[in-house]
Structures are given as structure tokens and as C-alpha cells.
Symmetry: C2
Subunit: 125 residues, 2 copies
DNA sequence: CACCTGTATTGATGAGCGTCAACATAGACA
DNA sequence: TGTCTATGTTGACGCTCATCAATACAGGTG
């Protein structure tokens, strides 16, 4: 029944140890430092163009995509490059140049961490 | 083992039918409209002060909190009010006045929907 | 080498946002 | 009614950001 597990592609060990910054939003009030860190990630996804770019990379086969595959989002090429840089700085994407093209891929642990932020705190039992 | 289910507080029916806007980010590239909708929610959580306010409400007992309980986040009272309004406009919080105080509570279905955005697409099986 | 394509950087511009002081509004109570 | 507390609104200021044109850089091909 539960077919919406968080990032099953991670190996079992990692899936239990992904919290790099913060507890679930519902567990206790965030400290200023936790909020600063987590807000940076949410902010990176808070722009429609960046969200489309991120989704395009995340859903592309192999979990990675060339810029040329995803740059059709209605803005100029420099703007695409700028947003991809922002996503990299937020730790959501990594990039690698292979010959002529640059490939971006999602950082799976960060995606899992953000997913955990939005869960109800695990029942203590 | 899986103690990090998404919003177990929702009744079973709702937990299977929460997608108000978009599929998981990893399922397929977002359309412009989907990105616009989802980005609005992420953007609302993309500010440290708003994230602290939201976390304070979400983690408060009963799932709701008076403004007076959560307004100690280092900014002025009008700024707190402004951010709470933003969170309301994004559909993440609702408010209700009871006598002297105004109580905010989290909108659980939206939180669940955002959690689903950050999951890997369910295995088709 | 020159030339072409793909991607990143620079600099500028306009819009949006976070913040506050001042003021307004709502409810409780005397 | 008047006064006090809690919360929301207004208007302004400074800063950040999304965007683009122009340019630079990287790598392939001839």
C-alpha cells in the first residue's frame, strides 16, 4: 500500500541517515541557523524556471541531463545558465563537463532531506 | 521499518488523494503552470523568518498556535504579521480569531502534497 | 591554425521583497 | 463610553533577484 516511500533509490543505510541540517518542520520550532540552511534550499526551488529545470533534470533518464536537453523553458540561454548555477550553489544539483556538453544531475541525499522536512515527526513507537 | 511516512495523521482516503497541483518532481518535467503553482509554495518557505514561523506553528501542540506564542523570531511585530499573511496566501496556513488572539494552523493537505513532490515517483508495481 | 557550437560570465535594468515606524482595527474589560 | 492589549495595514527604504544583451570561455572539427 505504501508506494510513496522517500527516495527508495538510496541504499538502506543512507535512507536512515540523510538529515544534514534539520529535523522535520513539525518536530520542534526551527532555530535561526536551521531556518537559514533549510530556507536556502526551499528558496532555490521557489522560482518557476528553476523548478522546471530541476524537474527536467530529475526526471531525465539516468538522473542526469545535458543543458541542451532541458533549456527550453522560455528564457534566454544566459538565464538558464544562471539558474542552474543557483541550483548548484544550493546543493541541489551537481555538474560535470563531458566533451562539448555539460551534464547536470540531482543530489539525491539533499532531495531526501527536504522530503523529510515535510513529514510529520516519526511516531516515537 | 518505514517510520517516515508522509503525514500519517491524514485519514487513509486523503493520504492517497492529496495531489492538488503536481506529480513528483522526478516523474516528468514540470509544465509552466505546474511550476508556477509549486514554486509559490516553495517560495513561501524560502525565507528563514517564515520557515521559523511555520515550524513554530506546525510543531506547537494541537497543530495550532497563537501569534503571541511564535512571534519571538527577531523581527518586529508588523514583519511577523506580514510573513504570516504570506504563508496564508500560499495556502500553507489558515487563521482564526478567537477573542483577543488569532490562531494559526497548518494546512495538512498542502504539506503532504509538497512532501510528495520530493519523493521518487512510485514504482509502477 | 581558424571556425563553429555549447555553456558560463559580466554588467545593467527593472521588479519584487524584507523590514520598520506609524497608524489602524478588533476585542476585552471597566 | 474609554482604555488597554493583540494583531493587521500602510507607506517608504534599501536590498536582492530575474532577466537580457554582449562577451568570454571551452571543446570539437576542419
Amino acid at each position: 500500500m505504501s508506494n510513496t516511500r522517500v527516495l527508495p533509490l538510496l541504499d538502506a543505510a543512507a535512507s536512515e541517515e540523510v538529515a544534514p541540517c534539520c529535523p522535520p518542520l513539525t518536530e520542534r520550532p526551527f532555530t535561526a541557523e536551521e531556518a537559514e540552511t533549510a530556507a536556502r534550499m526551499f528558496k532555490a526551488l521557489g522560482d518557476p524556471v528553476r523548478l522546471r529545470l530541476f524537474s527536467a533534470v530529475a526526471s531525465h533518464e539516468g538522473g542526469e541531463a545535458c543543458v541542451c536537453d532541458i533549456s527550453d523553458v522560455g528564457v534566454s540561454q544566459p538565464t538558464v545558465s544562471h539558474h542552474l548555477k543557483k541550483l548548484k550553489e544550493a546543493g541541489l544539483l551537481t555538474s560535470e563537463r563531458r566533451g562539448t556538453w555539460v551534464y547536470y544531475r540531482v543530489e539525491p541525499t539533499v532531495l531526501a532531506a527536504m522530503g523529510k522536512l515535510l513529514t510529520i515527526a516519526p511516531v516515537a513507537a
